[in-house]
């Protein structure tokens, strides 16, 4: 896809550097939007094309006539704005410094409140959340979220396991009340409802952007360059790039994404296919939606780190950016012809392969060419725990004399370097079976994609076999052999559930990787005792489900106990569980 020559509808220079992601747009007088950004350590700039801000602390900038500067004598970490005051539609500016939050009324030049933030400030947003009917300022800290009302009083507070990197308010469960979506640097998107976490979505890297799309969809971006869209808690698609996404916005009918290197692209919402692409002259600092031209619809406003601001109207695929550059029908036909020829070319190549294959079919199998392989070659993949190595052993084998030349295992977040694990045995060790170790570092379900290259030792070309294997959440725990010494740890959690033991068995079979499924011997059995061994550190995990509903999980890892309870509760549809 070429960089297209899409022209912005407006373009301006702030003549100031802009700190990436510390940018907001606010209507300080209630009607006119002003771009507000951090321009270096403690300086905030406010762009006001619709006339001067009254006066006060903001000083007119030397570098630009329509820009005012505001110095806050502390590093600016985050900015946000919103109509916090219940009696006013004017936006208040929230300034987050490393340890405090200042709410400032730019129009009246008065401080609204000033609040210490002992947990630090990473991100600020404003929004309506849960049962609170007023606009709140929500602060994401190093391990907590905090909601403040317009007077600076705390209305809620909760602990988050990990630094908060991004937040949005979003009606996740469609009950008419907004939940808070929190993207954390421990690779989870968490959903907070009524001060309780109702869901965690496991991702593969720190979650740096979140953006609402429709009632049921939201977009996310990770520090490792992945962006994607969730619909009702399920991922629709994701794509990965080398760059990391600075901002995501839903504009027109497509998802706009600003990348750290200054590339902007518009993607199809249901597939992630790139529709349009533009390159800015400098790295991207922010991308926001605002009606900066006062035309009634919000434009996409892209800010580069050198202070260049570009505005793009909502993009519609068949119309292009503006109606005037509407393509002539003949042009459309030409593009379609190019596209059709692309398709034809791909089909012809595939067809040629089959034809050549058929032409060679009559050959004697003994005198095989360098690319050959018996047609009924199959690939089998097995995963089994390897206690000696402390990992899961992946065995890939063919069903005949062909060899597995190499295997690529693709999965995110389970390898220490990159996204692939490869095995390429030396020539003298080539067999029809190949082993590869897997060590998922955390307990999340993973899909591993396997590409195996199958052929003969001296082949010039190998057949690719592709398979996907699902690793359940607790695949790193294997059934402890009965001869094993008794568990000595005395840390445990207990709780009570009223559930048939058969259902518990199904949960175990679904979430653990077992060679033989756990089965209940007869209908009358009411209790279950099972013991696991962790492959990572050979620690023990004992689970006992007693007949009276008492459950006792014995493990020295409190995180694991939490994960188990969470998983079990989700499976059994429990919303409330008393645990000791």
């Amino acid at each position: 896809m070429q960089t297209s020559s899409v022209q912005p509808v407006f373009k301006l220079e702030l003549n100031h550097k802009v700190t990436p992601s510390v940018v907001t747009i606010a209507k300080y007088d209630g009607t006119h939007p002003c771009l507000t950004a951090s321009a270096g350590y403690d300086k905030i700039i406010i762009h006001h094309p619709y006339g001067e801000i009254a006066s006060g602390r903001a000083q007119r900038s030397h570098a630009h006539g329509e820009v005012s500067e505001l110095n806050v004598s502390q590093a600016v970490i985050a900015l946000a704005a919103g109509p916090l005051k219940p009696d006013s539609s004017r936006d208040m500016l929230l300034i987050g410094s490393p340890s405090q939050i200042l709410a400032y009324d730019v129009h009246d030049n008065s401080d609204l409140f000033f609040k210490e933030a002992p947990d630090g400030v990473n991100i600020l947003i404003t929004g309506i959340f849960g049962k609170y009917h007023e606009m709140l300022a929500i602060v994401g800290g190093n391990s907590s979220v905090q909601g403040l009302n317009w007077e600076g009083n705390e209305v809620f507070w909760n602990v988050v396991s990990g630094k908060v990197c991004s937040m949005i308010t979003f009606d996740f469960d469609k009950d008419g009340e907004n939940e808070l979506l929190i993207g954390c640097d421990d690779s989870y998107i968490r959903v907070l409802k009524n001060n309780q976490f109702i869901l965690e979505l496991a991702e593969t890297g720190p979650v740096t952007c979140l953006s609402p799309i429709t009632e049921v969809r939201f977009a996310y971006g990770l520090a490792n360059g992945t962006i994607g869209i969730y619909e009702e808690g399920l991922r629709l698609w994701r794509v990965k790039s080398k760059q990391s996404a600075i901002a995501l916005q839903w504009s027109g009918e497509s998802l706009a994404c600003a990348w750290a290197n200054g590339r902007l692209d518009w993607r199809d919402g249901s597939s992630g296919r790139v529709l349009r692409r533009v390159q800015m002259r400098a790295g991207a600092a922010a991308m926001l939606l605002a009606d900066y031209r006062s035309v009634g619809t919000p434009d996409l406003i892209c800010v580069s780190d050198r202070g260049e601001v570009l505005g793009y109207p909502p993009y519609h695929e068949n119309v292009g950016f503006n109606a005037t550059s509407k393509k002539l029908p003949s042009e459309e036909d030409r593009l379609a012809i190019t596209e059709l020829l692309n398709k034809k070319q791909a089909l012809m190549v595939e067809l040629q392969h089959y034809e050549a294959n058929a032409a060679n079919a009559g050959l004697d199998p003994d005198d095989r060419p360098a690319t050959g392989m018996p047609t009924n070659t199959r690939l089998q993949v097995a995963v089994s725990p390897d206690e000696n190595e402390g990992c899961l052993g992946l065995a890939i084998s063919t069903n005949n004399e062909t060899i597995v030349r190499a295997a690529l295992v693709l999965a995110e977040g389970i390898f220490e370097t990159g996204e692939t694990l490869a095995r390429h045995p030396p020539l003298h060790l080539l067999r029809s079976i190949l082993h590869a170790p897997l060590k998922p570092p955390r307990d999340v379900p993973v899909d591993v994609h396997i590409k195996a290259l199958v052929g003969y030792v001296d082949s010039e070309q190998y057949h690719i076999f592709e398979l996907t294997k699902h690793l359940p959440r607790f695949s790193m725990y294997t059934l402890a052999p009965p001869t094993l010494v008794k568990n000595k740890t005395d840390s445990y959690v207990t709780f009570r559930i009223t559930e048939r033991i058969q259902r518990i068995c199904i949960w175990i079979n679904q979430n653990f990787l077992l060679e033989h499924e756990v089965e209940i011997e007869n209908e009358n059995t009411k209790d279950l005792y099972i013991s696991f061994l962790c492959l990572r550190d050979r620690s023990h995990l004992d689970m006992s489900f007693a007949a009276d509903g008492n459950v006792k999980l014995t493990t020295s890892d409190i995180g694991l106990a939490g994960d188990l309870i969470q998983s079990l509760a989700t499976y059994l549809n429990l919303s409330d569980l008393q645990v000791r």
Binding site: P329, L340, M348
Partner: protein, 731 residues
């Protein structure tokens, strides 16, 4: 971009070789021209375009791959003929597709390019240029290396033909009647020639496009018989190597059209009256895969357009936007014509989809059957090229495929640093076992047909490792069915930076270290051993070989002279000799051939070497210091406007200079650390080759410290003192 051209797709054909698309000259008054293209399947077709719909004039049956196509007209009669070369055959076709000429030549290798001038036919194949007149062989000239392209010139008042020949290894020669008239070396490595359309016959004058992406001019004065001279007109500027050149005429004048391996097409406006003027870049288009031919002509409309063919076999025109949006009536075309073409194509694609689905089903059924047949898909069409090392020692491999690629899997038997295209995701895999291998995968963006990888051995490897060849295996995995992965193998040379070609007779005034090798090896064996050490093509084995290369970064020279049983290598760079010695020892041992090696190291070598490098070294040191300061200033996060405020300077002049220079050269080409390591290595190799077993570690540490602090005198002292001590030892 000055011109606004739009792509109009015409046809699909098989994989094409460079310069196999030609536009037929105009017959009489008919204005629209026909074009002809030959592909790898051996199909030659001639087409004309009516209402953007291709109409086939004739099409031959598949056969041997067509590697060169030329059109020629017998002067006066306006009879144009098409000549297509495949293998060692040349066939001549009339406009109607009738074969009027078919010769099976005596050349042993595939004909790579040819030239037709009246009744003269000049062919290039392998290393030879063969001249036929009236189908009788006149002479055959053997060049020292592969012939890349030729241009033939008629001489005034004579039937003799002069031929300008481009030879691999960066040479260009002029041949007349099988005799060499003049020769030259062009370091940018010209690959393709384009004769200006109105050249004066008294002068041989040709534009060339080079491997490094630059464009230049080769001139030769026939009367004065001076030397062949060359001039670079357009510097490379990071564009890909040139695959084809052609001419395109429009109302604005003559344009040199350049098609490149990176998928770009450029139009340069050339002043034909003053051809040594720098051509002006007017237009660039990216098509995403290597461009194999470009030529201009009135194909689709009455106005001139640029016809382009690509590696995978797309043929399209780049046509002025005015002709497209202006009005449909401009080219007397009904709007329905396009729509009907689109519909036709849609139907065809639907039919193909069905057929492919059937075949796929058949194929899959086979895989389930108990009776094992053999699945033998043909080899994927993949071309690759290992390029010579650039300034900082990275070597590039360019992989081109006829189908979109999904992934590459790279395996190397040694530790290797890899970089790739920004659009692809490179992922280094965790090591398998304890060995020093490198495994990596590259995931390509959708639709990638061409991808480059840059590779560089890790510095600080032991001598043993350096002497072993670095073998790289790349498995190329395409996106589409059938799912097969092609294996590409190559060897990275031990001295990748000796990529510049020099004239062996003109390198003088150096302090040579000498390595003499004697033993029972043949010239061919020595060539194959050297291919493990040096990048690029080596001269073909002959009785007596002599060539010179220079280091792309340090400018040191390596001179090689060898014949059966004895070889002499000279270099002013001691490390080069040390590495070469290890490589040759290793290779000969593997072959079981006994060789005797002796080194002659002049005592002043290291200090002389450093003397040559001193100015670079000092300036590089300064630059590295500047960069540290610049980082510190950058960390202050100063406001650009305040810094640039001339009336109230906030920074001292020194700092302002650094800030400015950082904008100008963001990427310094020489790296200080590399230089330190290089000098240190010189010293170590010197000690190893000349002072056997002497402890030099303390000296080495002193040298390193002196180098890092840029104490030039101290460095010189250490390097020369050491020589003195060696003299002491000898006496």
């Amino acid at each position: 971009m000055d011109y606004d051209l739009t792509r109009v797709d015409y046809i699909l054909c098989g994989i094409t070789y460079p310069d196999t698309l030609k536009i037929l000259p105009n017959p009489g008054h008919k204005t629209q021209q026909k074009f002809t293209i030959g592909d790898k399947n051996g199909v030659l077709q001639c087409l004309c375009i009516k209402d953007e719909e291709p109409i086939i004039q004739f099409k031959t049956l598949p056969g041997k791959s067509i590697t060169s196509v030329q059109v020629a007209l017998t002067n006066g009669n306006y009879i144009d003929k098409i000549f297509a070369a495949s293998g060692n055959e040349v066939k001549g076709y009339t406009r109607k597709g009738k074969v009027f000429l078919a010769i099976e030549t005596s050349v042993s290798e595939t004909i790579t390019s040819m030239c037709i001038l009246g009744s003269d036919l000049i062919l290039c194949s392998g290393c030879t240029v063969t001249h036929y007149r009236d189908l009788r062989e006149m002479y055959s000239y053997i060049c020292e290396d592969r012939v890349l392209d030729i241009a033939a010139f008629a001489t005034p008042n004579s039937t003799r033909v002069r031929v300008l020949v481009l030879i691999a290894n960066k040479g260009a020669v002029i041949i007349e009647n099988g005799e060499l008239l003049a020769r030259t070396q062009i370091s940018s490595g010209p690959l393709r020639l384009a004769v200006p359309p109105t050249h004066r016959s008294a002068e041989v004058c040709v534009f060339y496009g080079a491997a490094n992406g630059s464009i230049g001019l080769i001139q030769y004065d026939l009367f004065h018989r001076t030397d062949l001279s060359s001039k670079c007109l357009v510097e490379d500027r990071g564009l890909g190597s040139v695959v084809c050149v052609g001419w395109y005429f429009s109302n604005n004048g003559a344009h040199l059209a350049v098609g490149r391996h990176d998928g770009s097409v450029q139009l340069y406006l050339v002043d034909l009256d003053n051809i040594t003027e720098q051509p002006r870049l007017k237009y660039t288009y990216f098509c995403g895969e290597p461009v194999t031919s470009v030529c201009g002509g009135c194909v689709g409309t009455d106005e001139s357009e640029l016809l382009v063919s690509t590696f995978s076999g797309r043929v399209f025109a780049l046509r002025s936007q005015r002709l497209i949006t202006g009005s449909v009536s401009f080219n007397n075309m009904t709007p329905d014509a396009l729509a009907s073409r689109r519909n036709k194509l849609e139907l065809e694609v639907a039919r193909l989809e069905k057929q492919t689905a059937n075949e796929r089903e058949k194929y899959q059924r086979n895989t389930r059957s108990l009776q094992a047949g053999l699945s033998t898909p043909p080899l994927l069409d993949i071309q690759y090229e290992l390029k010579e090392a650039v300034l900082n020692g990275w070597q590039e491999v360019v992989i081109t495929a006829g189908v979109p690629l999904d992934m590459l899997f790279i395996y190397c038997n040694k530790q290797l640093d890899v970089q790739t295209d920004s659009a692809a995701v490179l992922s280094i895999c965790p090591p398998q076992g304890q060995t020093k291998e490198m495994l990596a995968t590259v995931r390509c963006q959708a639709g990638t047909r061409r991808i480059w990888l840059q590779m560089c051995g890790r510095p600080g490897r032991s001598a043993m490792e350096m002497a072993e060849s670095t073998q790289v295996l790349i498995y190329v995995l395409p996106t589409s069915a059938p799912r097969v992965a092609r294996l590409i193998k190559f060897v990275l040379p031990a001295l990748p930076q000796y990529s510049l070609y020099e004239d062996p007779d003109s390198v003088n005034n150096r302090v040579w270290c000498e390595l003499r090798v004697s033993g029972g090896f043949s010239v061919a064996e020595m060539t194959s051993w050297l291919s493990e050490a040096l990048p690029g093509d080596l001269p073909r084995p002959a009785a007596n070989i002599s060539f010179a290369r220079s280091h792309s970064f340090l400018k040191t020279v390596l001179l090689c002279r060898y014949q059966r049983g004895s070889a002499v290598f000279k270099s002013d760079n001691i490390t080069t000799i040390a590495i070469l010695k290890d490589v040759l020892a290793n290779c000969s041992m593997k072959r079981g051939i006994r060789v005797d090696m002796s080194c002659d190291i002049p005592q002043v070598n290291c200090s002389m070497l450093f003397k040559n490098l001193k100015s670079d070294f000092v300036s590089e040191y300064q630059r590295s210091k500047d960069r540290i300061l610049e980082k510190a200033i950058g960390a202050l996060d100063l406001d650009v406007n305040i810094v640039n405020n001339a009336s109230e300077p906030t920074l001292c002049e020194e700092y302002q200079r650094i800030m400015k220079s950082s904008v100008e050269d963001t990427e310094s080409k020489l790296r200080f650390d590399d230089l330190v390591a290089t000098v240190e290595q010189w010293y170590m190799d010197f000690c190893k080759l000349s002072l056997y077993g002497r402890d030099y570690n303390s000296q080495r540490l002193r040298l390193k410290a002196a180098l890092q602090n840029c104490q030039v005198e101290e460095v010189e002292n250490i390097l020369t003192n050491n020589n003195n001590s060696q003299i002491d030892m000898e006496y």
